[in-house]
């Protein structure tokens, strides 16, 4: 009977985790879509920021190849407002399958190559009128 009580407690905890995760998931998806303004893509490899691209200022689409220390590569394509991996030599090809992104809620990650692209959205022009000190 003692086990049953513990099982119920654990069950409740799991339930809370589930509901919390669902809520968090939808919140993330939602809050990423609302933002307007410029879209900055940050490209990381091995924890280092390699490049920052302002996707909103991209006019013509272009591709760029990134190589890691072991010769593995990820080729990205940069378009206006979007960025994605178009080819890579990683075994799982998950980075390619993630398609193009323009949202901070959907980064592109290639775990085998320790390569990731993150999006941060900056608000459109919003100057403070005055700052009091």
């Amino acid at each position: 009977m003692e086990e049953k009580k513990r099982a119920v407690v654990l069950g409740v905890l799991i339930g809370i985790l589930l509901i919390g995760s669902l809520a968090a998931y939808f919140w993330i998806q939602n809050s990423a879509k609302k933002k307007e303004g410029s879209c900055i893509a940050k490209i990381y490899q091995n924890g280092e920021l390699l490049e920052e691209i302002n996707l909103s200022e991209v006019e013509a689409k272009y591709q760029k190849k990134f190589q890691d220390s072991k010769g593995g590569y990820n080729t990205i394509e940069v378009r206006n407002g979007e960025i994605g991996v178009v080819s890579a030599d990683c075994p799982d090809q998950l980075c390619k399958k993630q398609g193009f992104t323009s949202l901070s809620s959907n980064p592109i990650v290639c775990l085998p190559h320790r390569f990731s692209i993150e999006i941060t959205n900056q608000e459109g022009e919003e100057e403070w009128d005055a700052v009091s000190e």
Binding site: S21, P91, L94, L111
Partner: protein
């Protein structure tokens, strides 16, 4: 003397048998088309073996099978990266399942399994943070939690039914 050696050999053979099963299940699952482009969303069917073994063998024996399975499966299926992630996820999963199984005295295996799935993914996220130190990975946490819960539930039910149907067989295997 003879009988002690025999039982050690017998035990080793049994554990090897389960290791092979686990590696096979893992490899088959790895070969199937992916459920989602997100890394880490999977059923984790090999965990069924770990779950079942927890009911019949000592913690160290179960851990041995787990380690052997991770090493072999990573050698067969992937590279260094796979090994690190599997190891991290597997150890976290194992530790929590050991704890919960003890708390629940071997009952409600699906609860043990669900928590195992959740902690497996936590382990993988932590390893991802170590290897790719950018906060971007964290957006996947909610999805991985949900996936861990659902996968854990499924594998837990599988283990539960196995335990029901094959429980007697397992006991006989042990006592022979």
């Amino acid at each position: 003397m003879q009988s002690v050696n025999n039982s050690k050999v017998r035990k080793l053979t049994q554990l090897s048998f389960f290791t092979v099963i686990a590696v096979t299940i893992f490899s088959i699952e790895a070969a199937l088309p992916l459920l989602s482009p997100v890394q880490g969303i999977k059923l984790g069917l090999a965990n069924i073996v770990t779950l079942v073994l927890l009911q019949y063998y000592t913690p160290s024996e179960v851990f041995l099978v787990l380690l052997a399975r991770i090493l072999l499966a990573s050698l067969l299926n992937g590279q260094m990266m796979t090994l690190l992630y599997s190891l991290s996820g597997g150890i976290f999963c194992y530790l929590i399942m050991l704890l919960v199984n003890r708390l629940l005295r071997g009952k409600y295996i699906y609860i043990t399994s669900i928590l195992g799935g959740v902690f497996h993914n936590i382990g993988q996220i932590l390893m991802a943070l170590v290897l790719i130190p950018s906060g971007g990975i964290l957006v996947y946490v909610p999805l991985l939690m949900i996936s861990g819960i659902l996968a854990g539930l499924f594998t837990g039910l599988c283990a539960h039914f196995f335990h029901k149907k094959m429980g007697a067989w397992m006991k006989r295997l042990q006592q022979e």
